[in-house]
């Protein structure tokens, strides 16, 4: 009697752990931000499909496990029926997962093709260089997308760990990024883009996004790059087009006051 009580208590513990696990698993739904770009929205949808599949599979399999543990716990010394297997069942539980993974793979392929689409020729293009241990963002004044600017030149923003740089983007426009590194591998990761891409010495990686929300978003390097890897943070500020144009004009004016050189360098004053 006492023995079986102990088993039941143990099983109850397992059950509770299961419920707790499930509870926390479903909070994951709320945790991944839905993203702020067209591409992120698509990737988030795919994530949710994966999540629902996983939770469903987990619930089914874990329930079978818990049920089996309670139902088939040892009650006497009788030897249970010695079942060695069943080819039919093996084929079934090989076949069904194959179908599931092919479906999921196809869905992922569709999303991939869509988010990897190349930006149009005249999109706003920003060159991002990672270095130990900060970021350099370069805007080409001839390459500002929908805005027009009369002069040639560049705006260069170089961050330091103490003065984290800010990347300013216009909302509702395609932005293309060219990623480079001069020392080790870094990774450009903006949580709310639901995206990251590595900056690799010796190659240029490109991607483009279309932000749909204004606001300030935190971001940081996602590939271990040395001692101060954790300090390679920056922020992304997404603003309306008019505000973006004003920002460009003011920044350029500010720079021209400092120096005549067309190729201008400006160290960001840090977070606003």
């Amino acid at each position: 009697m006492q023995r079986s009580l102990k088993h039941i208590r143990l099983l109850a513990t397992l059950l509770i752990a299961l419920v707790l696990g499930l509870g926390s698993a479903s909070t994951a739904l709320a945790v991944q931000p839905g993203g702020i770009t067209d591409e992120a929205h698509e990737m988030h949808d795919l994530f949710l499909i994966m999540l629902y599949f996983s939770i469903a599979l987990f619930v089914i399999i874990a329930s079978v496990l818990v049920y089996a543990l309670i139902r088939y716990r040892r009650k006497n010394d009788e030897l249970p029926k010695q079942v060695h297997g069943s080819n039919r069942i093996e084929i079934l539980w090989t076949g069904i997962p194959i179908i599931i993974v092919i479906v999921l793979f196809t869905l992922s392929l569709i999303t991939l093709a869509s988010v990897e689409k190349k930006a149009e020729q005249n999109a706003l293009t920003i060159e991002v260089t990672g270095f130990q241990y900060q970021w350099k963002f370069v805007y080409d004044l001839n390459d500002l997308g929908e805005g027009e600017f009369a002069e040639d030149g560049y705006i260069t923003i170089i961050g330091t760990p103490a003065n984290e740089p800010e990347l300013v983007l216009p909302v509702d426009e395609v932005v293309e990024f060219n990623l480079k590194s001069t020392d080790v591998i870094h990774s450009f990761y903006v949580r709310d883009f639901l995206y990251k891409l590595d900056l690799i010495p010796g190659r240029i990686n490109q991607f483009s996004v279309t932000p749909r929300e204004t606001g300030v978003f935190r971001a940081q390097c996602a590939e271990l790059c040395g001692v101060n890897h954790s300090l390679m943070r920056f922020t992304v500020r997404i603003v309306e087009r008019e505000e973006f144009d004003i920002w460009i004009r003011e920044t350029v004016k500010h720079l021209q006051q400092d120096q005549d050189n067309k190729k201008t360098v400006r160290v960001n004053e840090g977070k606003k």
């Binding site: 945790v31 716990r73 297997g85 194959i98 891409l197 190659r203 991607f207």
Partner: protein
């Protein structure tokens, strides 16, 4: 003295076990330091540099000095016993395999004493970061090379033993599942480890002799390192988990009193995982922009299929059984449930666009720990409780075992489940600290508490070991009603292993022998 010169597979197996458990403790202490640092935002408990060394050495110790060699330890002890052999095929080479480990461990940890400290580039040692590092990196490279050599010759030894030294009647398809998983593991080691050795040699040349294999300025390619490294290290993940699956597949049938459901399907699924394991390496590189995404995506999804088959076969084994919840079984069931999560959360990264968000975040840290801790480490303890009576002739206490399990199960989930959520919330892995504004602190505190609970859970295990060794050996040949040949001999077995071997007519020779005895008694 005898222990230093022994070529007996059982003694070498015991040496492996103690050596690897020692590094499990070392790696565990490093993990506690990591979790202490991350408990709160902007923490200054560890400097950035120290943090990078400590998490790198945590992973290196756990993977290279604990998990991979502990399977060689269990394998050393039990493969010859399970197939009814006298010893391994090459006992001296076997001793050599073991004795490469202590110098490797010393070399790797000597990094803490040299200028610049221990390796700090993560266990993945990505170039160019690993080209910049100090001398600790060279020590690390040499240590991993030594360990690689040890596991390569060990693998050859296991394969020859299994192919040539099986007892009469022990056909390949009657070999115990643990032995089968060791076979596939040995194949993976034999095929993949030399690639790692080549990669390490290239890195060493780049660092010390002006080579440019991974330097674009000299005509090299940065991403090449990742390709060769993961060509080994992805199969290595299966090297780290397959023998654990084998142990679970020994324990579930014994404590359900049924044969393993779908023995052959299980063997083929193991081979399937081994084969597919060579075609998925670049799923670690989806965000490099330098790999063929759809190919590695589909292969990674596909590897979920044989993995699923294994889980279903374990459920099929439990179904209709007569299940008793002894300590080995508790850990085995812990394995099944945690590995289920580790399998499911792994498929997220197979969906390339989802991986763009999850890669290099704490979600991935959660995944590997659900596989390697919830999976492999639970299997290690399942194996310890299960085979302890055979190796040392004494039984570990059930009550302390249950306590150990409960602490580990709760601590484990508390430590690692929140990491999923942290990763989804954008916390990158391998950061020494995080901003207070990030909002990551509450979940990190939870995770750190979990890590401490795991550490506390080791206390009943250690007490259990001490108490067991203070008792005289009293265990019969077969305390659990086992199925496989190791239970046919005394506990512990004599130097020559068997006085007589029962006839082998199925994959469960001992079950057959017990049935025959009851039949004879009934007549």
């Amino acid at each position: 003295m005898d222990w230093l010169t022994t070529v007996d597979h059982k003694k070498l197996g015991i040496l492996y076990l103690w050596f690897t458990l020692f590094f499990f403790a070392v790696g565990g202490i490093l993990a506690i330091l990591v979790r202490t640092q991350l408990a709160v935002g902007e923490n200054t408990f560890l400097a950035n540099d120290a943090y990078n060394q400590i998490f790198t050495m945590h992973a290196s110790a756990m993977l290279f000095l604990f998990i991979i060699p502990i399977w060689a330890g269990f394998g050393n002890y039990f493969v010859p016993l399970q197939i009814g052999a006298l010893d391994m095929a090459f006992p001296r080479i076997n001793a050599l395999s073991f004795w490469m480990l202590p110098p490797a461990g010393l070399l790797m940890f000597a990094g803490f004493l040299v200028d610049g400290g221990a390796a700090a580039g993560g266990w993945t040692a990505y170039s160019p970061l690993s080209r910049q590092a100090g001398m600790g990196m060279d020590l690390w490279i040499m240590a991993v090379l030594l360990l690689g050599m040890s596991s390569t010759i060990g693998a050859a030894n296991f394969l020859v033993t299994m192919f040539r030294m099986r007892a009469p009647g022990m056909t390949m398809f009657r070999m115990p599942i643990f032995t089968w998983t060791m076979l596939v593991t040995a194949l993976l080691q034999l095929l993949a480890t030399p690639v790692l050795a080549a990669a390490l040699a290239m890195l060493f040349i780049d660092r010390n002799y002006g080579g440019a294999f991974f330097d674009p300025n000299g005509g090299g390619n940065v991403v090449l390192w990742q390709n060769v490294f993961w060509f080994y290290s992805h199969p290595a993940v299966y090297i780290m988990i397959l023998p654990g699956m084998g142990i679970i597949s020994e324990i579930l049938p014994v404590f359900s009193r049924k044969p393993l459901f779908g023995y052959k399907a299980f063997v083929f699924a193991t081979m399937g995982i081994g084969a597919l394991g060579f075609s998925v390496w670049a799923h670690h590189m989806f965000t490099t922009g330098a790999v063929l995404l759809p190919f590695f995506g589909i292969m990674t999804f596909m590897i979920g299929v044989p993995t699923g088959v294994k889980i279903f076969n374990w459920l099929g084994t439990l179904w209709g059984g007569s299940i008793s919840f002894k300590a080995p079984m508790l850990f085995a069931l812990g394995f099944v449930s945690m590995f289920l999560i580790g399998g499911l959360n792994g498929t997220f990264s197979a969906a390339v666009p989802v991986d763009f968000a999850l890669h290099d975040t704490y979600f991935v840290v959660a995944h590997i720990h659900y596989v390697l801790f919830g999976g492999s480490v639970f299997a290690v303890f399942a194996g310890m409780y299960y085979w302890f009576p055979k190796i040392w002739g004494r039984k570990l206490d059930e009550r302390l075992g249950q306590l150990h399990f409960v602490f580990m199960f709760i601590g484990f989930n508390l430590a690692f489940f929140p990491m999923h959520l942290l990763g989804l919330d954008g916390m990158p892995r391998r950061i020494a600290t995080y901003a207070n504004e990030s909002g990551w602190e509450p979940l990190n505190i939870l995770s750190t508490v979990g890590a401490y609970i795991i550490a506390i859970g080791m206390i009943p295990f250690i007490i259990n070991l001490v108490l067991a060794f203070r008792r005289p050996p009293d265990q019969p040949n077969d305390p659990w009603e086992g199925n496989t040949l190791e239970w046919a001999t005394t506990s512990p077995p004599p130097v020559h292993n068997f006085d007589s071997i029962p006839p082998v007519k199925s994959e469960r020779p001992l079950f057959d022998a017990r049935q025959e005895n009851t039949n004879m008694e009934n007549h």
